[in-house]
């Protein structure tokens, strides 16, 4: 398959652009997606190419953006709505949780909600307490909603296409820190990544590192460090928080007998808590050590640079966690 080297931002742009061309029901809505060219430049050029019918600059009305996405999806459109950053999705939580995620079930399958809610997520650059959230697990808490968390440009490309074509609502989280990071992307407009399928990004036999989104960077960095010391880490990239591909994780843990879970988010009631519970439940006899977790520290994110730097996971912290259980 031919490939192209693209930053994640471009991979997303391409996926969305191709789906807009492929299906007239797909439209884009959100703050600054049109005239401003997209806060994160993913919808760059769309307004000029597709016009106002399909590229809608919305007021600062997150509740209505998410709610109108639900309504138009129920009626047959395929909205790809953008909430500028995941922090502002808190204002839209009710529409997402009580409506997008529930409607198909509550009305016994009469309605479908084929929408994608794109949100930029993550911390860094001193965005401060209210603008530094990575609350994907909150959304993954609720059945009825899929949660996509790509870590590479190729996955972002294929996962966005899959999400748009699927008939279920998808919360599609894009790590702000990953937008500029390049990677090889298949040059195939029908490249799809199956929903709920994790991906082993690196094979190894001594320890399993399980992660998603930005965590992949730290895990791959840690794996390279560990390799120098003769430790082969296997890195499992979940790609989707819901559905959660536990089978791929269990298979890896049964092979390596050790697991470290790495995530950008807060530690309590998290992806790490969920997965650690499932691993001990299903792989207890295979574990040679307790399951370790690496996450952000349990604090609001402060502005000041040195304090901010203390909060977040790094490859170094992952290496340290692995060494504790080797």
């Amino acid at each position: 398959m031919a490939v192209k080297n693209l930053p994640m931002r471009e991979a997303l742009h391409r996926a969305l652009h191709e789906e807009m061309i492929r299906d007239d029901r797909v439209y884009v809505m959100g703050q600054e997606v049109g005239r401003w060219q997209g806060t994160h430049r993913v919808t760059r050029g769309f307004l000029e190419e597709f016009g106002e019918r399909r590229v809608k600059d919305a007021p600062i009305s997150e509740m209505a953006i998410a709610g109108a996405a639900v309504g138009s999806a129920m009626a047959g459109l395929r909205p790809v709505a953008e909430i500028m950053t995941i922090n502002f999705a808190f204002l839209a939580l009710d529409a997402i949780i009580n409506h997008a995620a529930k409607i198909h079930y509550m009305f016994n399958g009469q309605f479908t909600v084929p929408m994608v809610l794109r949100v930029a997520s993550g911390w860094g650059d001193q965005a401060t307490a209210t603008h530094s959230h990575t609350p994907e697990p909150i959304f993954a808490h609720f059945p009825g909603l899929y949660v996509a968390t790509p870590a590479t440009p190729a996955d972002a490309y294929g996962m966005l296409k899959t999400s748009i074509r699927d008939d279920n609502p998808v919360l599609f989280s894009e790590s702000i820190g990953l937008y500029p990071k390049p990677g090889l992307v298949p040059d195939d407009p029908d490249y799809l990544v199956p929903i709920g399928k994790a991906d082993v990004k690196r094979e190894g036999q001594h320890v399993t590192l399980v992660t998603f989104a930005r965590g992949l960077e730290w895990c791959m960095g840690a794996a390279r460090e560990l390799e120098k010391e003769g430790v082969q880490a296997e890195v499992v990239d979940m790609r989707w928080l819901r559905p959660l591909d536990t089978e791929t994780v269990f298979a890896s843990v049964r092979k390596t007998n050790r697991a470290v879970i790495v995530e950008e988010a807060l530690p309590m009631y998290s992806f790490g808590s969920e997965l650690a519970a499932q691993i001990q439940e299903h792989c207890f006899d295979y574990l040679d050590a307790p399951v370790k977790r690496v996450s952000s520290l349990d604090v609001p994110v402060p502005y000041s640079k040195k304090l901010e730097d203390m909060v977040f996971p790094t490859a170094h912290k992952v290496v340290a966690a692995v060494k504790e259980i080797l």
Binding site: D57, T130, H131, V311
Partner: protein, 326 residues
């Protein structure tokens, strides 16, 4: 309303020049990477609104709250420029110990209840502050700055309605600078005459005022205060313009909007307007105005020196302080 004396005009001039000098210094420091991060929203162009409004406050009794475009509020209410600048740099001696940064200035002593970065989020807080004033019969008013863009989210509508129902002493000042990020008011608000929203919420509509004329702002807020204490909430729409675009990440203001910006600077600069007013009353005042400018330039230089000399917080103790009340 008492008479506006030359002394008052000169003091307002001083404050407005201080804000302008401070903001232009911030821009410069950001370019030099001495102020870091992704968010820095300057108040240049808006000066007359903060100064004219705050001139009506009894400091320590009346209240004020705003969004992230908060530097001008902090300075006009009397926060120390050094501590304010230290907060920009995330330093230990900053108004919030470096934890809040540019978007989250606050001063308990001045009843300046902070800058908030979730659009509209501070508006119901203003309702609550006014509730306390009414509850304890304090005779204090609450001034809230509202972005034009912020009038489109639920927070605005719910906060105003509740205040209207309970006849609370709220003064809502819409700082209509024509844009929310890149979106013109006309493209975001179905009725772009924003002050007319007052009617829907039983709120007294004081209409549109010239937000570039500090005297017009002072007089309007003076009338608003009288009304608010006697009868309930008031809304004012002050027309203004951003000189430095939305924030430091906005690269469009000096290209796409360059001509519009130049027109505002040439014909409606708040500092020039006030200088003209002063000179009309006292043709000999120019040296005094120059002296004020020189002094405020020095104040800002000293503020920068103070901030430079303050250390960055860097201990775990500081990181974990104030998550809960001890």
């Amino acid at each position: 309303m008492g008479q506006i004396t030359m002394e008052m005009l000169l003091d307002w001039y001083r404050q407005m020049v201080l804000i302008r000098e401070f903001e232009e210094a911030c821009q410069h420091l950001y370019e030099q990477k001495r102020i870091t991060g992704v968010y820095l929203h300057l108040y240049s162009g808006h000066e007359a609104i903060a100064v004219g409004a705050i001139a009506n406050m009894v400091i320590g009794k009346d209240h004020i709250i705003t969004a992230y475009r908060d530097h001008g509020i902090a300075l006009a209410i009397g926060c120390d420029p050094g501590a304010t600048m230290a907060e920009m740099m995330g330093k230990r001696d900053g108004l919030s110990g470096g934890k809040g940064g540019s978007m989250h200035l606050a001063s308990r002593r001045h009843n300046f209840w902070g800058g908030y970065a979730i659009v509209g989020g501070h508006l119901p807080l203003a309702t609550g502050l006014a509730l306390e004033s009414q509850y304890n019969e304090r005779g204090a008013v609450v001034i809230s700055m509202v972005g034009d863009g912020a009038t489109n989210n639920g927070y605005f509508h719910e906060a105003l309605n509740m205040s209207g129902v309970w006849r609370l002493p709220n003064i809502w000042i819409i700082e209509n600078n024509g844009y929310g990020m890149g979106t013109e008011v006309e493209r975001a608000s179905a009725n772009p005459i924003l002050h007319e929203r007052a009617k829907g919420y039983g709120t007294h509509d004081l209409g549109r005022i010239d937000g570039q004329d500090v005297v017009a702002v002072y007089e309007a807020v003076c009338a608003a205060k009288e009304y608010a204490l006697a009868y309930g909430p008031v809304l004012i729409e002050a027309m203004t313009y951003r000189y430095r675009g939305h924030g430091v990440s906005d690269k469009q203001y000096n290209t796409r909007l360059a001509q519009e910006l130049e027109e505002w600077k040439q014909t409606k600069d708040p500092i020039t307007i006030l200088a003209r007013r002063i000179l009309a009353q006292d043709p000999q005042a120019q040296p005094k105005l120059d002296q004020i400018t020189g002094e405020q330039h020095k104040v800002v230089e000293e503020a920068i020196a103070f901030a430079d000399n303050s250390p960055l917080p860097d201990t775990l103790e500081e990181l974990y302080a104030h998550i809960y009340v001890d």
